[in-house]
Symmetry: C2
Subunit: 143 residues, 2 copies
DNA sequence: TGTATTTTGGTACTAAAGTATGAATAGGTT
DNA sequence: AACCTATTCATACTTTAGTACCAAAATACA
């Protein structure tokens, strides 16, 4: 089901439930055999069930927002002064590539890769590529 | 807050809300200036809010159940023939330690660490420690 | 146009990682 | 006892990683 359909259904349910409640209230006023307390009880159950259903829907969307928590923190990248190329290299390091392989992938010399990596280590405050990957993920600057 | 306290609070809220509702209902019957529709409206809002709050709690627990999906696959460790010591070394590699640091941590020589690592690489079918970490997590043999 | 940053690359070096091979020891199994 | 596996360690070696220092282009920017 599309989100739109779901939303329409939800609001439809709310309106329907409210209508039924008002009708029940009126009925209870004219038909003494149905106690007001009974109506209130039914109303309570219906509305709480509705609330739980709606709350679930709200939460579901929130979960969807939370789950892809691997959103890159652009601000931190800027504050660390990490250049786009350096970030690209870091990403490839995290994918398990060697300096040679990264160089071939980016069509530049291994020498340049080493420069980028050395600069990265300073900015990330690490000593090894394995630590760089951990930091990169900790600080959400790579996926 | 502990889960027990939360549960008590929740049910306390439910009872409180119901009591208020019944009181309001009685009041509306004897004081005509307060319309029944008004009471029903307030009841609807309170109960739906309560329902959403309760539903949120239910969902939160479900999320907690889903999150710790990183259970170590002991069967795969055995099938790969990875020894306890090798696994220990792999874990420390994944924490960003150098061979020297791993050796000091485990009170054995760096030479032994290299042996373990070489054997690990064969079993994991990788060429570098960065790849070993990726494989280790892919195959759920490390956290 | 001048300036700052990024990107690129080189050389030379040190350090770390990884391979290959062999071997000793301890513990558990048959 | 004989056997197997895990663990340990060493030597010698090759490869990769990483550092230090420098410098030329390219790019962006005011």
């Amino acid at each position: 089901m599309s989100p739109l359909v779901k939303t329409v259904l939800r609001f439809g349910l709310i309106i329907l439930a409210l209508l039924i409640l008002f009708q029940l209230t009126n009925a209870s006023l004219f038909i003494p055999s149905i106690s007001v307390d009974f109506v209130i009880g039914i109303a309570a159950i219906i509305l709480m069930a509705l609330g739980i259903y709606l709350g679930r829907g709200i939460k579901k969307e929130k979960i969807i927002e939370v789950k892809p928590s691997s959103v890159i923190d652009e601000k931190r990248i800027l504050s660390l002064g990490i250049s786009p190329r350096e970030l690209e290299v870091l990403q490839l390091i995290s994918e398990g590539l060697s300096n040679q392989e990264i160089a071939e992938r980016l069509f530049i010399s291994e020498s340049t890769i080493k420069t980028h990596i050395s600069n990265l280590f300073v900015k990330l405050d690490v000593k090894r590529r394995t630590q760089a990957v951990i930091r990169g993920k900790e600080w959400r600057i790579i996926a």
